[in-house]
């Protein structure tokens, strides 16, 4: 029985990866939830928006790397991030002008806008593949680890190692900063307040002189920035491939709906709930239990509830349960 080793193994394989993954999902879900709250439709193009922002960031990163610009131990992509955001903002504003505005003026029903967003999704899908290709791209550079498993073992003399990647720490720090900034913006600034007013009651907001087109524009800009940050962090931590970004749509929507669509706090909570469920349910607990339990109780089997292949099924099941029993989500968002 060895609790310390159990905790270290748990952190290495469950806590650290799940926290990083949860932060990435939370950022993605914030974008989805903002669009739902303010523009009133589920944006299926969100995964590919993330891919587009990340792609621009990657291209700028490559250019910076070739020009010899770097951030030392931190990934160069952080420097390129603002450019990625600008590119993504431009893309979303153009899409809004060309596509969504037409339907908004028609006062189209949300379900039509959802279908429209699927069309946009397919076009973005093609656009990203056309520019950067369908393959894996790696753009992480700088120091890979804050602490490697081997160093940790040597330092502590423990049997289990704990590795923390720079990108994992970076993900959490950036996510906290971005979320703090977003909440300050929504709660303290005039524009933020007008966005919330528009979200709560469109007609009242119009009567009190809020310009709807401005609100829509700011929403797209914030969503673009959030999507790019989420996409770049995910790509740095794992790898960039257009198809995986498309697949991310499911856990992101699950996170947004679990937390309650339209509720920013809910999106963050939802992101972590989905991430922790996915990781803990598919993790084989044999090692941790072997350390934590007395010898006689140590398990022989893997103690794995579901094979890792079913990772996405976990978000699906959570999504179904929430929709069945609490359609407004944990934080009382709008019902779907």
């Amino acid at each position: 029985m060895d609790l310390l080793n159990a905790i270290v193994a748990l952190s290495n394989f469950v806590l650290v990866p799940a926290i990083a993954y949860g932060s990435q999902l939370a950022l993605g879900a914030l974008g989805v939830t903002l669009i739902y709250g303010i523009l009133r439709f589920s944006n299926f193009a969100h995964g590919d928006t993330m891919a587009f922002g990340t792609m621009v960031t990657i291209l700028v990163t490559w250019w910076m790397q070739s020009a010899g610009i770097s951030l030392g131990p931190l990934p160069t992509a952080l420097l390129a991030l603002p450019f990625g955001m600008l590119g993504c903002i431009a893309l979303l504003l153009v899409t809004d002008r060309l596509v969504y505005r037409f339907y908004r003026e028609q006062k189209a029903k949300p379900v039509i806008l959802v279908i429209v967003s699927m069309g946009v999704m397919f076009i973005l899908n093609g656009l990203v593949r056309f520019i950067i290709g369908p393959d894996d791209q790696r753009f992480a550079d700088g120091e890979r680890f804050i602490i490697t498993a081997r160093d940790f073992k040597q330092m502590t003399g423990l049997e289990e190692g704990l590795a923390i990647k720079t990108t994992q720490a970076l993900t959490v720090v950036t996510a906290v900063l971005v979320v703090a900034l977003l909440f300050w913006f929504l709660n303290r600034t005039r524009t933020g307040k007008s966005m919330r007013a528009y979200s709560d009651n469109e007609d009242l907001a119009l009567l009190s002189g809020i310009n709807p087109e401005r609100v829509v524009m700011y929403t797209w800009m914030i969503v673009a920035a959030l999507a790019t940050v989420a996409g770049v962090l995910y790509g740095l931590d794992k790898s960039f491939k257009p198809f995986t970004y498309f697949q991310l749509l499911l856990p992101i929507f699950a996170a947004a709906i679990v937390g309650g669509l339209g509720s920013p706090i809910g999106a963050i909570a939802g992101g972590f709930i989905i991430a922790f469920s996915e990781v803990t349910i598919t993790y084989a607990w044999k090692k941790v239990l072997g350390h934590a339990l007395p010898e006689s109780l140590a398990p022989d089997g893997l103690v794995q509830l579901l094979s890792t292949d079913y990772k996405f099924a976990v978000s699906f099941v959570i999504l179904l349960i929430v929709l069945l029993f609490r359609p407004t989500g944990l934080f009382k968002g709008k019902s779907v």
């Binding site: 394989f13 790898s239 995986t244 090692k287 890792t308």
Partner: protein, 394 residues
Amino acid sequence: MKKLLLATAATALLAGAAQAEDVKIGILLGFTGPLESLSPDMAAGANLAISEVNESGNFMDGAKISSVNGDTGCIDASLAVASAERLITSDKVSGIVGGMCSGETTAALQNAAIPNGMVMISPSATSPALSTIEDDGLFFRTSPSDARQGQVMADILNDRGIKEVAVTYTNNDYGKGLADSFQAAFEKSGGKVTLNAAHEDGKADYSAEVGALASAGGEVLVVAGYVDQGGAGIINAALDSGAFDTFMFPDGMISETLEKNFGSKVEGSFGQHPSAAGDGPEKFKEMGKAAGFEPTNAFSPESYDAASLILLAMQAAGSTDPNVYKTKIMDVANAPGEKILPGDLGKALQILKDGGDVDYVGASSVELIGPGESAGSYREIEFKDGKMDTVGYR
């Protein structure tokens, strides 16, 4: 003018005559799909054998051979069947070099080749399931079955004194076939496989898969995957989390990419891939370089051998009918007879014409066993100082 007309008529006649004796060989490979980078050099290998035979002029009273390509997509069974059907019924080929990947080969064999009575020699389908398939004596392969590779892997581990391993495989016919045959061989020899788990290709993150493998434990992680796909992701995640630092690499992982990306990080890791020592491979290398393709790429020698075997068997049987020459393939591939290396095809055709025997060795040391598959010789490699070193041949 009269002369010109005469000449034209003569050429037309000649062309017609040549066409009548023309023999077509189908080349059925995954020109698109996940192994599309390998297929051009494989097709070039097969075509090299064909042009060598054409130049010798000894084939079937001077008949000329041409090749027709068919695409299988490597993982697209319906495309493979459609292409095979087209080669057989519309292009009227007399033999097929292919298919490329195990699943697609099985589909093409069962749905097109067997119903039409066509011989298929695959250079690269290695699934053990193809050893026991009901094939009416029409299917052969110049690559070894993965059942053999599984045995070789168990031997390597036993020689190194490793008793416990975890296995992860790419979730398809190749990965599963290899992982299962390895597990059977290793457990029979007293080893223990702590976990034999699949991974999907093309994911961004393999930390969950590695987490399960790490929990199961083991001295070495066997990665039966693709180096350009999930295999690399698994190694990355395993190194990142410190779960494993020694790996065993089967044939799908061994390549320059592996050495380039992971060379220095996987010190002491080892593996094996089908490769023969001796004169045949050397000679094929020279010929391939001269013909302008990359003869050392995986399965290019095997493709040359597959095409050669079809043509030699036709010559030995004196017929291009698949149902006649299929019985001769084992004869020309194995002893007794004169040893035939790459470049000797003209000589071999002459010997067969005179009623003699040949023992085709070819570019990959062909020795067909059991149901018509290569016995297989493997090169064992190990990573030393960031480089892939040859340890020996098995």
